[in-house]
Symmetry: C2
Amino acid sequence: MELYQSGTWLISDTLMSSMVRDDSLFVRRHFRKDEEIYVQESVSSKFYVVVSGLVQIAMIREDGTEVILELMGPQTVCGEGAAIDGLPRFSGATALEETELLEFDASQLPQLAAHSPEFVVALLQITALKQRVLAVRLEQLSSREPETRIMEMFARLARIFAETRCDGKLIVPKLTHEQIAAMTGNTRVTVTRALGRLKERGEIAIVNGRILLMSERFRD
Amino acid sequence: MELYQSGTWLISDTLMSSMVRDDSLFVRRHFRKDEEIYVQESVSSKFYVVVSGLVQIAMIREDGTEVILELMGPQTVCGEGAAIDGLPRFSGATALEETELLEFDASQLPQLAAHSPEFVVALLQITALKQRVLAVRLEQLSSREPETRIMEMFARLARIFAETRCDGKLIVPKLTHEQIAAMTGNTRVTVTRALGRLKERGEIAIVNGRILLMSERFRD
DNA sequence: CGCATGCGGTATCGTGGGATACACCCAAAA
DNA sequence: TTTTGGGTGTATCCCACGATACCGCATGCG
């Protein structure tokens, strides 16, 4: 497996299939645009596999500002952290589009472990992957130049959401500058400025509201 | 359980005991000061429970700067992320003092899951906790004032390492300004300046090289 | 004892990003 | 159609942080 792939929380097909093998373990759920899936600080043992759509994971800081942890697309798992440790959710999840989820319940994990161990091992691997992604994000945030932070974030998103084109990779979800700011820890104004410079340098372009990554490393 | 405790990766006694129940699963290991426990980018299925001592988890960025992810004391687990997902280690671990560890091997997790499920569930809860801590750190890093970042980091460390005194909480490990800088994403100079201001305001004091937290919220 | 090393404190300088404000565009609503 | 509101592009000001350099001090080691 290529190292550079490591910053994703995309679940491999193998993992995925061992999660959904036993369909008595989950319930299909549907959320409309802007509907909340779970809210920060609530206690719940539910976690979710994204089947289709787009989910935003965000934390509200004490001062009221929002930090977007991640956007989750199909083949990702969310909410399992708090579902497993039983503490109040440290982040909230919102559907940014019509979204289809599988809802699991972590409350009978011990029993589950006994009769379908591969499910628990799959879950373990997923949480390990997410730990990795969070660590990579931390590393990125400690970079100071906004351009770097933004491009690193785009590169990460591209691995989940990109559609490959002849001239680069197009990030499918539409992102407002404000969202990018909340994801990279900058202000909206700084994001606008940095994007301008990136456009000038030919590293990115905007194609009807979406980000097109054009650096060489995004060509195939 | 108190919400404010959530930013720790201290393992509960219950979890701990279900890890060490079967002593055929681990090997005792000893590391001297400044010895490397594992290095970044290496591949290994080993992970560790800290019994005594102090372990620093750090990532080296491409530009050569070091980001300290965490200091781990007794009753913590480290290295399990990469051990489980099998990818190269995203961080390296070094013993900052004489350190006693239990070394586990994650390579036979599937078999393990079958005959001692509670071990796997314990591991799962640990990774979930760490996910939480990483998310909290991310949240903190997105704050801009160095004082806030530093104080939040101290508060976190205090939950693992503090010794309660009549006048506040004393953080046991000695920290250089450089380490604090690498943990909070600032420069050494900024840390020195910020600490000066915090001292003036009476929020902290230095007691023979260690940090004493003196704000009201650290009194009992 | 003297030297080296690493850490803490401080100064100087330049800059880039935060705060704030405002104008423009476009799409959806009324 | 007009209006409203959210998103984007800029300008202006200011200050705090990064870069760099230097000094003094403690510790340790030959």
